[in-house]
């Protein structure tokens, strides 16, 4: 199968998954036991409120009709009206998407740098104390909740040493980079903890290959052997893991935003949950699922650029 037909097949699969995602999100309110309007209103469920919400959500129509309204609305970018702010959900969510994506990309960039540095350092020094320190250190980071790690960083680096701002977002691009450094670092350390384990073992495995021995035998500098021959081959599986971890990164980003008061989707999500503003929760769930689908597609397509030998079957 050529690259073009693979891309076509992969796109069709993504569209199918997207369709499934809309069914899950639609089904979440409609297939759970009880009347959606009563569940969504919680303590505020008076007969009058229930009737009004049923009307607003279109619950008096048949299920297929409701689903069609939901999906065709989504396709046009309509995601309903917020129950607490009485604004279009689209405007509320879309203005925050770039902030969350920015933070996630920032974290990915830091994670790539941290993974490359520590993964290679551990692999080159396999079995020595520096390898053990890196492994144990990142095992600790992996088993701590990210929100707690973020709070510790605030405690030490912001409140103690006063190197970074405690929370917020800043106004200019430079300020954004400055304000988002700690949240991005928190996220990237957790992401790196998974990636470093993989990169370390892959580098060690690749170093035993014949082509690496040949490269050394022809007198190539050790650094060039490592970067040009070993790393490029070892990276393939790390990139796959990176793609698989993206869902965790999105989830983590939304939580970390609440810790550092970053005005992204996460902050909106958790205030909406407290306020039982389901249309907003729904919209953010859709947007994060779409992000994951896009990234997984990009990861699958990136293989052929990383390794020209990859064929699509």
């Amino acid at each position: 199968m050529g690259r073009a037909s693979y891309i076509r097949k992969r796109l069709i699969l993504s569209v199918f998954v997207l369709f499934g995602v809309t069914i899950v999100i639609f089904g979440m309110v409609h297939f759970l036991p009880g009347d959606p309007a009563t569940i969504l209103l919680g303590d505020r469920a008076t007969t009058q409120n229930i009737a009004a919400l049923r009307d607003q959500l279109g619950l008096n129509r048949s299920l297929p009709e409701q689903y069609w309204l939901f999906v065709s609305g989504l396709a046009q970018g309509q995601m309903g009206t917020s129950l607490t702010f009485h604004q279009p959900v689209r405007d509320m969510v879309l203005s925050r998407v770039p902030i969350s994506i920015g933070l996630a990309v920032y974290a990915m960039a830091l994670a790539a740098a941290i993974t490359l540095a520590f993964g290679l350092l551990a692999a080159v020094n396999k079995g020595r104390w520096i390898d053990q320190v890196i492994r144990v250190g990142f095992l600790f980071i992996l088993t701590t909740p990210s929100f707690w790690f973020g709070i510790l960083l605030i405690l030490v680096l912001s409140l103690g040493l006063k190197w970074f701002p405690v929370a917020g977002f800043g106004a200019t691009l430079q300020e954004h980079v400055w304000y988002l450094f700690l949240p991005a670092l928190t996220l990237s350390l957790q992401l790196s903890a998974v990636l470093i384990r993989n990169l370390r073992s892959q580098v060690i495995l690749t170093s035993r290959s014949d082509f690496v021995r040949t490269a050394r035998a022809k007198g190539l500098h050790e650094r060039l052997v490592l970067l040009r021959h070993v790393l490029r081959n070892a990276l393939l599986s790390t990139v796959t893991i990176f793609g698989l971890q993206f869902g965790f990164l999105v989830g983590g980003t939304l939580v970390i935003e609440t810790v550092f008061a970053v005005p992204g989707m996460g902050q909106l999500l958790f205030t909406s949950i407290t306020g039982r503003d389901y249309p907003v929760v729904q919209a953010i769930t859709v947007v994060s699922a779409i992000l994951v689908i896009i990234v997984n597609l990009l990861v699958d397509l990136s293989y052929s650029f990383l390794d020209p030998r990859v064929t699509y079957e």
Binding site: T144, P145, L159, G247, V250, V255, V281, S288, A289
Partner: protein
């Protein structure tokens, strides 16, 4: 590393008896390795602490004594200090151990059983059943796990019971994927053909012949799953969706201590360390079991 240890143990050296086994090798003879042993010992300690909580502290974790609020760690009567309500932090962490262990175990129980059975059934039977479940898996994998759990909780409402329901609805996916892969590799082996030839029923082949041979990787993942469940449980408590106050739970304690970060760092820092210890114990067991295979 293990290779060099093995070599060292096997190669006879001058003046040494040939059959003297190293510590690692003796462990391996009883099915253990250093990582697994360390994890098991650490977990045993945590479980012991959870069981003996009332014996290890004289204080009730919930009763408030406002005149004793904000005592720092290493105070005369409170080894880890007190919180804003004057409750003993050591007692709350001890009793929290019970809850966090419970979250870890219950959250993986149903997903492990259901996911493994689905994995065996889809892998062995194939066909439409396989296609159906694998498409569900594809779709659920598109959601960030935490966001999906949060979205379900936002409908069901906060609380531990609903947390378990949310985990049950989406947590089975990794087990189904892992076990399905193993079953696909097993279904055409000779002993399965043999069982079929002597007339075993399909359920019997799946449960008696395939299950024991494919369950190990899923079982290893249980420990990763427990760490994940405990971390997500703590995260949801931190966000106000999990355990409700005044129940002592580590994530909820971290959340409650946040507003006193400047005056009482121990309220956020110490429960996090407790989470770290339990997480490291479970991760070491998972790594140790994986190494054994």
């Amino acid at each position: 590393m293990s290779e060099s240890v093995l070599d060292a143990g096997l190669r006879p050296r001058v003046g040494e008896p040939v059959l003297q086994l190293s510590f690692t090798m003796r462990l391996q003879k009883i099915g253990l390795n250093p990582t697994l042993l360390a994890g098991l010992l650490l977990l045993a300690l945590v479980v012991l602490v959870a069981i003996c909580a009332p014996l290890l502290t004289p204080y009730d974790p919930i009763v408030q004594k406002l005149d004793e609020a904000f005592q720092p760690p290493l105070s005369v009567n409170h080894i880890l200090g007190t919180d804003n309500f004057g409750r003993d932090v050591w007692s709350r962490i001890l009793y929290g151990t019970r809850l966090d262990l419970q979250i870890g175990v219950i959250s993986v129980l149903f997903p492990f059983v259901f996911g493994s059975l689905i994995g065996i059934a889809t892998g062995y039977l194939g066909g439409r059943l396989d296609t159906f479940f694998m498409r569900i898996v594809d779709v659920l994998m598109a959601f960030p796990f935490l966001i999906l759990v949060v979205a379900i909780m936002s409908i069901l409402g906060p609380g531990l019971g609903n947390l378990y329901i949310a985990f049950g609805l989406v947590g089975w996916i990794p087990y189904a994927r892992i076990t399905r892969g193993e079953t696909l590799a097993t279904r055409n082996l000779e002993y399965v053909h043999a069982a079929r030839t002597i007339g075993c029923t399909t359920p019997r082949i799946m449960l008696r012949h395939i299950l024991p041979n494919v369950i190990a990787p899923g079982l290893v993942y249980v420990f990763t799953g427990m760490v994940l469940a405990i971390l997500i449980g703590a995260t949801l408590s931190y966000l106000g969706l999990g355990t409700q106050p005044p129940t002592p739970e580590w994530g909820a304690m971290i959340a409650a201590g946040r507003q006193f970060l400047l005056q009482a760092w121990w309220l956020t820092a110490l429960p996090g360390f407790a989470l770290l210890v339990l997480g490291v114990a479970l991760s070491l067991i998972g790594d140790g079991l994986a190494d054994r295979q």
